[in-house]
């Protein structure tokens, strides 16, 4: 084998690179297997008591407000081993309008002394909606404790904004009637044309025949 220096150098470089890659991957696997379960040891946050780390549990209650308006009250309650006060809670509604199950923010609130955050929300469409409350203060998005609730919304508002921006087309209400009318007119035209030809084909020879018969009789 007659290997040049450059080729030997290239083989060694590839070997070193692959070794580093394998070692890094191995370390990551080991590290991950030793780390605690995500969310099990929530790091201390601004609102959550830093002295008593532990699991945080949340509940979300959605209730309709009394009265003619269809607004909702979303109440998220977070409890942990320590009190959760003045922590930020973000509220979301889950929608498929803009993609697959996107969380659309609908408001934020701070927790009170008993760990409850409340917002009012006026939905603009009807149906069973999924709401999420997420304790966000100082926490990464992945590690934030969340609470979920489903609620049957009955909106009395004008409907979603996207619908009003794209109004129904006038002909969509009478499309079938419109198509039917035009097709009828076209059919009548075709029928008239065919009738004209048939009439000429039948009556012209008949008229000539009558004339011939008359002349024969004479």
């Amino acid at each position: 084998m007659n290997w040049s220096n450059a080729r030997v150098f290239r083989v060694i470089s590839y070997g070193v690179f692959e070794a580093v890659l394998i070692a890094t991957t191995a370390l990551m696997v080991v590290g991950l297997s030793r780390s605690p379960v995500a969310g099990a040891a929530t790091p201390p946050t601004q609102g959550v008591s830093a002295t008593a780390p532990g699991p945080v549990l949340g509940t979300l209650t959605v209730v309709s407000r009394p009265g003619p308006s269809s607004s909702l009250v979303l109440k998220a309650h977070f409890t942990g081993s320590a009190s959760i006060t003045k922590s930020s809670v973000a509220f979301f509604v889950v929608t498929k309008e803009f993609g697959d199950n996107l969380n659309v923010p609908i408001g934020t609130a701070k927790t009170s002394q008993d760990g409850t955050a409340t917002i009012n929300y006026a939905p603009t469409w009807n149906g069973k909606e999924q709401f999420i409350a997420k304790l966000t203060s100082g926490l990464g998005d992945a590690g934030a404790p969340t609470a979920t609730s489903y609620h049957q919304v009955t909106a009395s508002g004008p409907g979603p904004l996207y619908a009003s921006a794209n109004p129904l087309r006038p002909f969509s209400l009478m499309g079938h009637f419109f198509v039917g009318t035009i097709l009828t007119i076209v059919s009548l035209v075709w029928l008239t044309l065919i009738s004209i030809l048939l009439l000429l084909a039948r009556r012209l020879p008949r008229m000539a025949g009558v004339m011939d018969a008359d002349s024969t009789t004479e």
């Binding site: 035009i182 044309l193 009556r203 012209l204 008229m207």
Partner: protein, 457 residues
């Protein structure tokens, strides 16, 4: 008594002369010039068919369909040729309905032009389709939300109506042609005429029936033609949201353009056939002047509608429309655009308006300018908005290839070829109508049919 006999014999001689003139294209042995013309036209049509076959084999890229030019000259050919079909039908229908007696020598040529052009124009849509075999699905799976189905429906209805409108007044003339030509007609023509004339004997009852049917057809053909050209205009507005295409004025613009260019084509057909078959005695200079007078208001209306189309769009400055108009007025298409304005509108209108130029030669020149520039106008209407990139605000490139050039040339050559061939089978003049109107004239019920004096000629 003797005077009456002389008058009668003169009338009979004139009638015989008229009948001989009507069948002249069939009686005359084709000369060398005629044969050469037919051969050249056949070659051009064959070249067009070859181009179409090439497109079928290699796809739409051979006519330079690309992302920046998705419609092309094939669509312009379709609109132009279907458009000119309107002129022939309307000249005949309107003049028939208004009882204009001078129409009689022109109606056959006008109706034949309409039939030929609507058939060729309708066929011109096929090369613009990527998969023409899908045409079948218009019938089997119609999509009524698509403007194209309405286009197809309107054109096919108008096409059938044009054929019937051409055929019904032809019935008496087929018998006359048979009588005039006798054994010279040949077996095929004699058989064809006998079958198609339905035992016509010229009885008053038969005449009344034909007249009633023609009145009905004349009433139907005008709204049908308006609907065809309106649907074409609307097809642009709703097929794709392109700048300039969504103008509300496009439907009336298309109708007026069709009338204007269609009457111009009737003038060209009459001039060519009059010269070829020496019909100067029947198609007089006065006929050309009257057709030119009809042309004048349509030309003026088209000019006005064009200004009404461009002015608000250019003033409002909506980005796409403004870019297209800038391209037309001052950009790379400016030469062609101004050629349309000057050559298709200003010059022809001046020629007709000025008494000094209101002569057959000038009128035919004006008509030729109109037909040519209105095809160019349709090319601009189709190509410029399609090449506009709505994201970048720039214009793509559309270029001619031998394929779309050959298809265009083939379609254009097919019109005179089919008209020439058609008059090898049917009389070129509407003999019955001319004779009938002459009788009315003798009875003092109508205006002069051939009112020209030699001085006027």
């Amino acid at each position: 008594m003797e005077k009456l006999a002389v008058e009668r014999s003169l009338r009979e001689a004139a009638s015989q002369e008229l009948r001989e003139a009507a069948v002249r294209p069939m009686l005359q042995k084709p000369g060398r010039g005629y044969k050469l013309l037919v051969a050249v036209l056949c070659v051009v049509v064959a070249f067009g068919l070859a181009g179409f076959v090439d497109q079928l084999i290699y796809g739409m890229s051979v006519v330079d369909y690309n992302n920046s030019a998705f419609w092309d000259v094939n669509i312009a050919n379709f609109i132009t040729i279907v458009g000119v079909a309107y002129g022939g039908a309307v000249v005949s229908a309107v003049l028939r309905l208004t009882g204009a007696q001078w129409r009689a020598p022109l109606t056959r040529i006008a109706e034949a032009t309409a039939v030929v052009t609507v058939l060729i124009g309708g066929a011109c849509i096929i090369p613009s389709l990527g998969r023409p075999n899908m045409m079948w699905e218009f019938i089997t799976r119609p999509n009524f939300s698509s403007p194209l189905i309405w286009d197809a429906l309107a054109i096919s209805t108008y096409g059938i109506a044009s054929v019937v409108f051409f055929y019904v007044p032809l019935i008496p003339d087929l018998v006359i042609a048979q009588q005039t030509m006798g054994g010279r007609a040949g077996r095929v023509r004699t058989l064809l005429w006998r079958k198609l004339s339905w035992g016509w004997q010229g009885l008053p009852a038969q005449r009344r029936l034909i007249d009633r049917m023609m009145g009905l057809l004349a009433l139907m053909i005008i709204p049908l033609a308006v609907s065809v050209h309106s649907v074409l205009g609307w097809a642009f507005a709703i097929t794709s949201f392109r700048p300039w295409w969504s103008e509300e004025l496009w439907a009336p613009l298309f109708v007026i353009a069709a009338l204007y260019s269609g009457i111009a084509l009737v003038i060209l057909s009459c001039a060519a056939l009059r010269r070829t078959y020496s019909l100067q005695k029947y198609i007089t200079d006065q006929h050309f002047k009257r057709l030119a007078y009809i042309l004048l208001p349509f030309g003026a209306t088209y000019l006005y509608l064009s200004v009404a189309d461009f002015l608000p769009g250019a003033y409002h400055g909506e980005p796409g429309t403004a870019a297209v108009f800038r391209q037309l007025f001052f950009g790379s298409y400016a030469l062609w655009f101004w050629l349309v304005v000057v050559g298709g509108m200003v010059v022809p209108l001046l020629i007709i308006a000025l008494p000094q130029t209101r002569r057959v030669g000038w009128i035919v020149f004006a008509a030729a300018c109109i037909v040519a520039t209105f095809w160019l106008n349709r090319v601009l209407m189709v190509v410029v908005p399609t090449t506009y990139d709505m994201m970048k605000g720039t214009f793509g490139v559309y270029s001619w290839t031998w394929v779309n050039a050959s298809i265009t040339a083939g379609a254009m050559a097919a019109i005179p070829l089919l008209i020439l061939l058609l008059f090898r089978f049917v009389p070129i003049l509407s003999v019955t109508e001319i004779e009938e109107l002459e009788k009315q004239q003798l009875g003092g019920t109508g205006t002069d049919l051939i009112e020209e004096t030699p001085e006027e000629v």
